[in-house]
């Protein structure tokens, strides 16, 4: 075994349901760990989570560190950061991955700051490579290349952490491919006793209201998405109708969400969800760089827009220059006639 630490994945869960991004990261973590010749290990933190453990093995965890305590439910940053820091000090992992979710993005920087480790936000790609720092003339082998969009998505930067391990990143949801689980795969369970004090448990949750999302864009095979060109809330019904007929989900650009035509759960793009369906139909979406960042992984893209110069046409496989109010009913009619 190499003399470097293992690859760790922070497992995000809500009421015992594991976030998809954490499973995506286990799959990615397994790939990175194989390249480095180390193990993939999962950090499962909360209360009464025993039933989650097997799933983590099946998705690639060799070890599950399980920290349970009533004070770790519901999630608050400081107690979680304390548990993670104590584990880092004890085991010295090489890499630590978090989902770039609301929880991940408030927890990871608190840990990185205390550890004096570098942290790169919202990565869209990760790989292992060597790095030569031209300024300090130092070279590093087998470092984590942390690739992320910056400047509103106009550039893609590759960033390397040159200080203490772990090399920490948050990774956008939906960008890492989730492999099929291996049923019956087993690993090692390490139960951790959280050493919490009053210093970490100062924040009290008085009220907590949440609902699960009413749409699963990440898992959708077909997405029909509407943008500002849809024109108004009433016309959005047309987008929903096409999605229903084709058996798909409804997506939207930020402009349509900001206009209040549909809620944020449906937003595709840099500040929404990254999707990769079999078919993506972009209706009245001009195709800003931020939107394209979330959908160019789709297998087939159809774009409908009245503006022949809309940037969306540059990434589409089928370009339809026309009015969606005419084109969509034609599509519905044609599909009903053939299917």
């Amino acid at each position: 075994m190499a003399n470097i630490g293992n690859v760790w994945v922070f497992i995000e869960q809500e009421g015992g349901t594991i976030a998809e991004v954490s499973l995506e990261l286990l799959c990615k973590g397994r790939e990175l760990a194989a390249r480095l010749g180390v193990k993939t290990e999962a950090l499962l933190i909360g209360d009464k989570l025993g039933k989650c453990v097997d799933k983590l093995y099946e998705y690639g965890a060799d070890t599950v560190f399980l920290a349970e305590d009533p004070r770790l439910e519901p999630f608050t940053v400081q107690p979680f950061a304390k548990v993670i820091m104590d584990l880092i000090r004890e085991y010295n992992p090489n890499i630590l991955l978090f989902g770039a979710t609301m929880k991940g993005r408030e927890l990871a920087p608190r840990v990185a700051s205390e550890k004096l480790a570098g942290l790169t936000a919202d990565c869209t790609s990760l790989r292992i490579d060597d790095f030569e720092d031209r300024v300090s003339k130092k070279s590093y082998t087998d470092k984590l290349m942390q690739i992320r969009p910056a400047f509103g998505g106009n550039i893609i930067a590759t960033i390397v952490n040159t200080w203490d391990d772990p090399q920490m990143v948050t990774v956008r949801e939906g960008v890492m491919k989730m492999d099929e689980p291996t049923p019956g795969r087993k690993g090692e369970l390490v139960k951790v006793k959280p050493a919490l004090t009053d210093a970490e448990t100062v924040i009290k949750v008085i009220e907590r209201v949440r609902e699960d999302k009413d749409v699963n864009l990440k898992g959708a095979q077909i997405i029909v998405a509407g943008g500002y060109g849809v024109g108004n809330k009433e016309n959005f019904a047309l987008i929903k109708q096409l999605a229903e007929v084709l058996g798909g989900e409804v997506g939207a650009s930020r402009a349509a969400v900001d206009a209040g035509w549909i809620n944020h759960d449906h937003q595709v793009g840099q500040t929404g969800v990254t999707v990769r369906p079999k078919l993506y139909i972009a209706c009245g979406i001009s195709g800003s760089i931020q939107h394209r960042a979330g959908m160019t992984g789709s297998k087939k893209i159809i774009a409908i827009n009245t503006d022949p110069d809309a940037p969306i046409f540059a990434v589409s496989h089928y370009s339809i220059v026309g009015d969606l109010n005419t084109v969509i009913p034609q599509m519905i009619k044609a599909f009903k006639a053939k299917a």
Binding site: V135, G152, N154, I155, V160, V209, A314, V315
Partner: protein
Amino acid sequence: MTVSYTVIVFVKQVPDTQNITGEAMTPEGTVNRGALPAIFNPEDLNALELALQLKDRYNAKVVVGTMGPPNAAEVLRNALFRGADEAFLLTDRAFAGADTLATSYALSCAAKKYGKFDLILCGRQAIDGDTAQVGPQLAEKLNIPQICYIEDVIKLEKGKITAKRAIEGGYEVLEAPTPSLLTVIDSNIPRPQNAMRIMKFKKAKTKSELIKANSTYTDANERAAEEKRLEDKDLLIYEWSAEDVGADKERIGFAGSPTKVKEIMSVVLTATDTKKVEASEKGISSLIQELINDHTLG
């Protein structure tokens, strides 16, 4: 009513990445910062607005601070125009090249230099990097609690704050001791600049700006007297160097930044092989047929 609470708002002057024009990118694909207008980071305006609401409700004193080049004093004046009471600029070449860890360390030194405070407010994230890391890292550096994604403050009391924040799919109401750090999301409408305040605070200056405007100063005493005169009228924007805030040189700027940029690439449109489909019943019908045939549909 006497001042009851002190709220520090950390803000950032950022290039306007939301309205990128052709000239903003060089032919080599790097960002031409000079071609982008410098603006008040949008969510920092929400943080300032929330602080000013605390001033309205509790007579809190609002102190605005930033780290940046000398001309970042512009965002501080902008904040004074909207209602902030005091401002400080952290500026030094030694801060250049800082990543989020080095930035949060520098800001923590500035907060300590300022003195006692009850709350620190920041925007959730800045539009040039979108990392949302500096707020939580600053809280850790100061060893105070953090609450991110704040929508509103429900109640501020001596030693305690109750606030509402967004969580995935909903919201939470949290109670935290003060001092605490809050990061604020786009959940209020920032008040505009006030005409009376513009008249007064357009004269607010930093030490560097005073020197620049009065190149005739012959000795330090004369300049110090001018600074004192401005301070007495609440028109001095405090300007601090790395040394002034007692920052360790090894922990700021490039030297204090663990993350290094290996490579930058511009995002180019990957030209896809596009098939033009006629927007007619016939065109659409054959498209649908093609998608059924290759099992994309049906």
